[in-house]
Symmetry: C2
Subunit: 370 residues, 2 copies
């Protein structure tokens, strides 16, 4: 293989496909990026067998061929090369990388054991802007479970119905739901996408409102296609939790508050919580103000913030982290909490058509202190 | 104690004195900042017994008193408070921190076991700009030994003689020497300052050429005084190495090269060196160019750069890290290496009056490959 690629294009390609290179693996081929110039273009691929990413890099092919190269070594070398064209050639498994007067030789792999992306049928698709997809992922993904043993909780539900796309994440203590409108009606789909895939996708997406992503869904895979890149991920198998049964529109108390005031206050309270500690923050809701209190081994804190309230007064306790996560994911200036009782879930939701959200948080028991 | 301080001033004070709070200690009083408002001003102090820092904070004292507070908890709380006045009061060992509607209570310590800064006699002093001191530290300190068992190598020599101040750092493989002129002649001094002190001082110093630092030296301590802050550090005891005997002005080969070209090239070569690997970079000096080569378990690299040379051709090997550290500490566009033989130290030095430097690096043996 003999190819010439500009440093900038090569580095962009490496950064994109590297997202599918696992941090830790005992299979050295998985640590590799495949550089494939056997066809008419230069393609780079990484595949950890759950998640595969392929991207096309601009450049000249002088001699066809392919080679697999350790992603981290290759990336470090390219990053440090001068901003100029890079000439990559192979002699057997030896890779020569030349840029201006710098010449590197490193050992690659023929890559016979490299797994290319699965050949997924791509017919129907949903189109979103890169910004919208990145956004809906970032505003829900914090609610998935990070415990690998938790099966479907480690992924997110993506539900497409009529002309809307809904994403749901839950970890047993909270649920995050976001729903957006689509430009046109599409085939109904209900899939569970691995959290890792969504995390990596959201890092690669440019956040551009003008650029699009196509999402293809098959029985076993989801494919994201944008610009020169294709991301293929195996779906998590199983039936997702029945969300509808957990949601309710009834409430006895609603509290409307400036999001930033509430968030700042809870962030301050959280300073007193050590990592393994599970001390709740207690909201004491009264007529036009709410007192927030926390009492831990480090110290105590209380603060009063202004609210608009309907319904009954109530004292209710929460894990401050869950509240902070939800409040950070909302952009609106004012938010409303809907409460049923100190033992029932709290909902933060809006009913706007454009981008609906619903964050459900389970309360925690607390010992009354006042 | 009852005091009022603006958040900004308080946080600046905390950040300064926190540099003397050890990361790990079994003595909980060392983790504390003493807030002392027993006198006419509000003073904050931290002292790990080797290094002590004291700073004065603007504010109002309503009731005199003092309290020691855990530095990390206090710093986290203050950082998250609104940008406004903070009212701190004590009830026994309880500390109340109030800012706008937020009220914190944490437990402090009466601080009877807190060690104030030693009362060091301050007579003669040397004056430098903050920029100059920060600079001379940063450009030498990387050459000290980080191995705590290495005694005096973990500190730097500061030598004041006539109207110049010299700092020396060495770790057995290399020496860094910087010398600057002083405005006036001062008493001759030769002290060894702990690396930790120098590191922390260089972080606190603002890097301002207009603002000054006074350095006082006594038999056992060095004191840095600037703006509202006093830093006291115990000196390392003993006689420093005899540097003069290691230096030499004789050479058989001199190589003048663009600093950035050489540094970029060695940085690229260093990519092929694993942490525990000790593979040298080999410089093959010929008439008007120098080939740099490295060969490791990861791969090989070579690059040719333009030089101006006097004297004999030579092949010599170095630990690339030591060369990179020295080259990063130099600002000049062109540098000159002075070499005696492949077994003798290499010197990178200038002879300019304004700010002299000399970096000595020992070569390493290598197996000839070409």
């Amino acid at each position: 293989m003999k190819i010439t690629v500009s440093k900038g294009d090569l580095l962009t390609g490496i950064n994109v496909v590297s997202k599918a290179v696992p941090n830790k693996t005992t299979m050295s081929i998985l640590e590799c990026i495949m550089i494939d110039a056997t066809g008419s273009s230069i393609v780079m691929i990484a595949n950890d067998l759950e998640l595969g990413i392929q991207t096309t890099v601009e450049g000249q092919i002088e001699e066809h061929g392919r080679i697999a190269v350790n992603a981290s070594i290759f990336s470090n070398i390219v990053r440090k090369l001068p901003e100029n064209d890079i000439y990559i050639s192979t002699e057997g498994e030896k890779i020569n990388i030349v840029c201006e007067k710098a010449k590197f030789s490193i050992l690659g792999k023929a890559g016979d054991d490299f797994t290319y992306l699965p050949d997924v049928e791509r017919n129907d698709y949903v189109t979103l802007s890169q910004y919208t997809l990145k956004n809906i992922i970032n505003k829900t993904i914090f609610s998935i479970s990070t415990n690998e043993g938790n099966g479907m909780m480690t992924g997110e539900l993506m539900e497409i119905k009529d002309d809307s796309l809904k994403m749901v994440a839950l970890d047993g203590h909270r649920i995050a739901i976001r729903e957006i409108g689509l430009k046109e009606k599409t085939k109904e789909e209900k899939i569970i996408i691995a959290g890792k895939t969504l995390n990596e996708i959201s890092k690669i997406l440019g956040g551009d409102t003008e650029k699009e992503v196509k999402i293809y869904i098959t029985e076993k895979h989801v494919v994201f296609e944008f610009e020169k890149t294709i991301v293929v991920s195996r779906l998590l198998e199983g039936n997702y939790y029945n969300i509808e049964s957990m949601l309710s529109n009834q409430y006895s108390t609603s509290v409307t508050v400036k999001r930033k005031d509430l968030m700042d206050c809870i962030e301050r309270a959280a300073l007193l919580v050590k990592e393994d500690d599970k001390k709740p923050i207690i909201m004491m809701i009264s007529e036009s103000s709410m007192k927030l209190k926390i009492n831990t081994t480090i110290g105590s804190m209380d603060e009063i913030i202004d609210i608009e309230k309907t319904g009954e007064n109530m004292n209710i306790g929460f894990n401050p982290k869950f509240l902070i996560d939800a409040l950070r994911a909302i952009e609106e200036e004012m938010i409303t909490l809907y409460l049923v009782s100190p033992k029932a879930p709290c909902f933060i939701r809006n009913e706007e058509e454009k981008e609906k959200y619903c964050y459900l948080i389970l309360p925690v028991n607390f010992v009354t202190v006042d």
